[in-house]
Amino acid sequence: MAGYVPVIGLEIHAELLTHSKVFCTCSAEFGGDTNSRCCPVCSGLPGTLPVINETAVEYAVKAGFALGCDINKFSVFDRKNYFYPDLPKAYQISQLNLPLCINGLVPVEYEKDGVKTTHDIRINRIHLEEDAGKLTHNDLEGVSLADYNRCGIPLIEIVTEPDIGSAEEAKAFVEKIALLLKYAGVCDCKMEQGSLRCDVNISLKKPTDTVLGTRAEIKNLNSIKAIGRAIEFEIYRQAKALDMGQRIVQETRRFDDNRGETRSMRSKENANDYRYFPEPDILQVNMTDEQLMSIRSDMPEMPDKRLIRYTENFALSETDAKIIINEKTISDFFDDSVAAYNNPKAIANFIISEMLRRINLGEISLDDIKFSPVNFAKIIEMAETEKINKSNAKDVFRALIDKPEIDSEKLAKDLGFIIETDMAKVIDVIAGVISANETAVTQYRNGEVKVFGFLMGQCSKALKGVATSKQIKEELEKMLKN
């Protein structure tokens, strides 16, 4: 079963980080007691009307900018009609012919057979729509229970062209999209909470085929890992079927995470006929060039640009730059720190070796970093300018985590780490060490240089906070020569 080329397209749903829902004023926050974030509008009561949220439109446009899309300055909403118990109006307000964003392009970097590859994935469209509610199943009573809190949470659907060729590429693409959306500030991309969800369309063809094969759609994948596994299984399943001369059925499939398999969802008697038509309750949305420019000017610098700046201007290694860019909060923190102390490499090293470790240990919350970049940068500056020993910088940092509002220089002082540079005392102490260790001194002068370390250790211990190691070392060398 070789020789097939997978053709993959994705539909990514991302919930937007607005305060209120897309068509009513209920809170759009995740969770809440069942049906406690509902009103007549989002629970589909008769007579109610949707009123569109400005920020939801703005965020969809920002997502479009982040993914290199063109924006339709005239955009229309449509109704997608279907019955399902999580959809109280029995139609979803969405966009069909004139979505907010079209024709995007997202470059994705991933490893293909161990080789780093870059591929541009085309984005067909991004449209704004509303999320549906949630069903839970009560086996005891043999019923399903509908909760509409999630109904009306603004959602963008990102639809790619079938440009993706492997599970690795699909995973890298979704990771990239998540990163871009987080940078644009429009989605928190928490797949485990469902704020980012992915449907995969996949078919196989022979390399020489000019037409695409029949595709299967795998619905609602909610982790990067599941996306990869589902695609791999589907490639295997379809290839096996094709090898056996079977035809692939166009259908919707569900991925079973426990078994690592996709399974056909119960097919509905009717092929879906969504009977789209323009939503008469929502007027078309217009945007001027000025308005688009103003939205664009709100966008932060995006990851690809930051990578260039970090590697070219700051001379960071690509690996280090990527580690920092991978979290917008960190990257912003890094930039602010560099603004306070212009030593990007040192700051990057300290962030990667110390700060990220503390974040992983849970000592610092990424969503709520309590100390300022200025105060943080000061630690690195002190270490780099040998105001404190480099080894002590970590301890000052830990103190800063505990007392984020205290000036880090004061913290270093309180810990006794500030180096005073009293050369008279240095000479004094070294002289004392030399006279107390005559044997070692003689050995050194006879060419046994390895005892220098021992002597240095003696001096350093007695000179903690008085001078830098460099100063002690230079002085010791000088005095040993005499």
Partner: protein, 92 residues
């Protein structure tokens, strides 16, 4: 209108009919569709831009959340359990 189309349309609207109802409706609909078919003679194309009401993004509702309704009010016309709407068990 043929019976198969009729059944498909009925399914789309989640409606069922007795045989008598169906036969009556089929006759009615065939007649009404004849009327509707006359629009096909009009040599016109819909232009969405002509329906533009010139509403701009900055005129849309500002993103402020307000208190929701009491759950009991949302559920007051429904069969409910555990503050949820009760649906026959949905098998996926």
């Amino acid at each position: 209108m043929d019976l198969q189309t009729f059944n498909q349309i009925a399914e789309l609207g989640k409606l069922t009919f007795s045989d008598t109802e169906r036969d009556e409706l089929l006759t009615d609909m065939t007649e009404i569709i004849d009327i509707m078919d006359t629009v096909k003679n009009a040599d016109l194309v819909y232009d969405p831009l002509k329906d533009n009401k010139n509403v701009f993004i900055n005129e849309l509702r500002k993103d402020r959340d307000e208190p929701s309704f009491a759950t009991a009010k949302i559920l007051q016309n429904a069969r409910n359990m555990n503050n949820c709407f009760v649906v026959p068990k949905v098998v996926e």
